[in-house]
Symmetry: C2
């Protein structure tokens, strides 16, 4: 026996919906990491075809020590499957297997799995508890934290969903070892995001350690995940249901969602679209006179160096505008953007269509 | 101008989710009845093919005084359409029309419309507010109050849904005038329910005024709706998410749901199945030694006199048991029944399969 590898906890404070984010290597195999979850009879692992074969058997063995019955539901892989139809297949499987209200769902995978398992947990028999076990960098630093769940609609991303906080988030850093490089890079987009919107020192750190992150240095990844979760936990603790502050977490996402929807979900990874969207949102911030051109260039250089796209697809200005009008931050057809107003500070505001059109023209090819 | 007809309010106390049930004739036309709702830009009436033509134009005129845009979504009529597919059609319509987060949904119809509009409101862009405007007796006394929303699944009734409290319930007693007699009778099943589970005096009152209710005497209906809402508001205020007490509101529903699912949704109306289910649950209470045979006979006589079925369909004992095992009150395959333990008192408990089988045999044909 060797000592358990160290793990860290980040608390997310939401009154009676508070929970911990546990970060560490090897959590999937550590029964003690599951201590303190409310008692339940059955456990259902919701995973996908890519992640399931790698990790579901290990998680299943750990859960079998705690639950009478452990079952695995395997979804198809990819954003294109984040639909009401796939959600329905989860309900079908749960009912066919006779799972009752004392069942806990365990979301094992990336953001798509987490969004759908969390949504399914909210609705199955009007609510069963769930645990997030994110296995991608993007899910560990962003989507598994904060209780946003959703599926896409042909007319817009994440349009159908609910706020539903998990019982716990358990980020096993070991799962990042098998992550395809393209997905690691996509996850870095959300890591980078936290610098410009909230933490100048973290932006400096990312710039200094980007090469370490790209070669998956364990210490660098651990720091990136922890600091990202700390920032997200703070923002979500202030504004659980996105009535104000929380919207800044969508920096780059308004442009990014338009890219994803315009190309068809799955063509670009979410993080890739957000990377490019941050470049566009930074340029918009320059055009609005909020930040200097050199700061925007600094961000563009970092995003490019991470391996993320910095030029958007040529969908046409009108198509971009139409897709962005569907954004959930829109008010009566007026698109609202997360823009930067300095290093480590962001705000949400509308922008003139002409200005936005110029930004789209300048940043697409 | 004549004075506005009187209306009454029943408060439902749920902390920051508290709201009022407003009961009165002609509410749909009274703009002042909508005072105090949070400001919003747009209003969407969700109704069905039976109710919409009768009342949606009137409601629309009233709402146009308050909202920039008023749109109506008309669903097909009937329990058979309470599905994820119909729910999806609501999302499609909302997105196609470009409605944003500042939209309020108005559920105008019976329980099916209310359940689906409330569920859609919970999920559209992760939550928009909604108002219940029940137009059937059943919805006015039961389903519109308490925030339970759901759709059916082929494997069970109300299996997919959420708790989502409305901003207000507005029961316009005038809409009961156009209710088909069969639906009025079905609604009486839920009125009758409140007597045996919670209020001996109300049971006496129903027995004394059943003929008035059946001929739609306005004062009798007003009293029945108000007292039913008071009892339901009290129970829901004690136990919003059905972790205990609230389950007694399902008296007759475990057998009733089996009848509905076994025959196929829509064959019997929900209230008809509940009426028959109460007869079976009362008989089970006798078999368990909890109440006298004469009290069960008293309830059976009242239910029969209301015009509700008191004998269930011959689905077969095994089929009944299998369907009831899917009930959400079940624990690890053990069916739990709401049974009576006296006049005005109920509790939830399991029962031996052999005993339940005998009750099914004796009460089906």
């Amino acid at each position: 026996m060797h000592a358990a590898p160290p793990s860290e906890r980040v608390a997310i404070n939401l009154g009676d919906r508070s929970y911990d984010i546990v970060i560490g290597a090897g959590l999937l195999d550590r029964s003690d990491a599951f201590d303190g979850l409310p008692p339940g009879t059955d456990a259902v692992i919701v995973t996908n075809e890519a992640v399931g074969p790698l990790y579901a058997p290990r998680l299943s063995i750990t859960l079998q020590r705690r639950y009478q019955r452990v079952h695995t539901i395997t979804l198809p892989d990819g954003e294109v499957h984040k639909t009401l139809a796939t959600l329905t297949s989860i309900f079908d499987a749960l009912l066919e297997q006779g799972f009752d209200r004392r069942t806990t769902l365990f979301a094992l995978g990336g953001g798509v799995v987490g969004d759908m398992a969390g949504f399914a947990a909210a609705c199955y028999m009007r609510g069963v508890p769930y645990v997030q076990l994110p296995t991608t960098l993007l899910a560990q630093v962003d989507s598994s934290v904060g209780g946003k769940t959703a599926v896409n609609h042909p007319l817009g991303k994440n349009m159908i969903g609910v706020f539903n906080q998990p019982l716990r988030v358990m980020a096993d850093l070991g799962t990042l070892e098998t992550l395809p490089q393209r997905e690691l890079v996509a996850g870095l987009a959300e890591v980078i995001k936290y610098g410009p919107i909230a933490d100048e020192a973290f932006l400096d750190w990312i710039e200094a350690h980007l090469d370490d992150l790209l070669r998956r240095d364990a210490d660098a990844l651990a720091h990136a995940v922890r600091r990202s979760c700390e920032i997200k936990a703070h923002v979500v603790g202030e504004d659980e249901r996105e009535s104000g502050l929380r919207a800044i977490l969508n920096f780059g996402h308004t442009f990014g969602h338009a890219i994803e929807a315009g190309l068809g979900y799955g063509e670009w990874l979410h993080g890739e679209a957000v990377g490019c969207g941050m470049v566009m949102a930074a340029d918009l911030s320059v055009q609005l006179g909020l930040i200097s051109n050199s700061y925007a260039e600094r961000l563009r250089a970092l995003i490019r160096r991470a391996g993320l796209p910095v030029v958007g697809p040529r969908l046409g200005v009108e198509r971009y505008l139409a897709l962005m009008r569907l954004d959930k931050k829109s008010n009566a057809g007026e698109i609202r953007f997360v823009v930067l107003e300095g290093v480590g500070r962001a705000l949400v505001r509308p922008a003139d269509d002409a200005l936005v059109s110029r930004v789209i023209e300048a940043n697409t090819r």
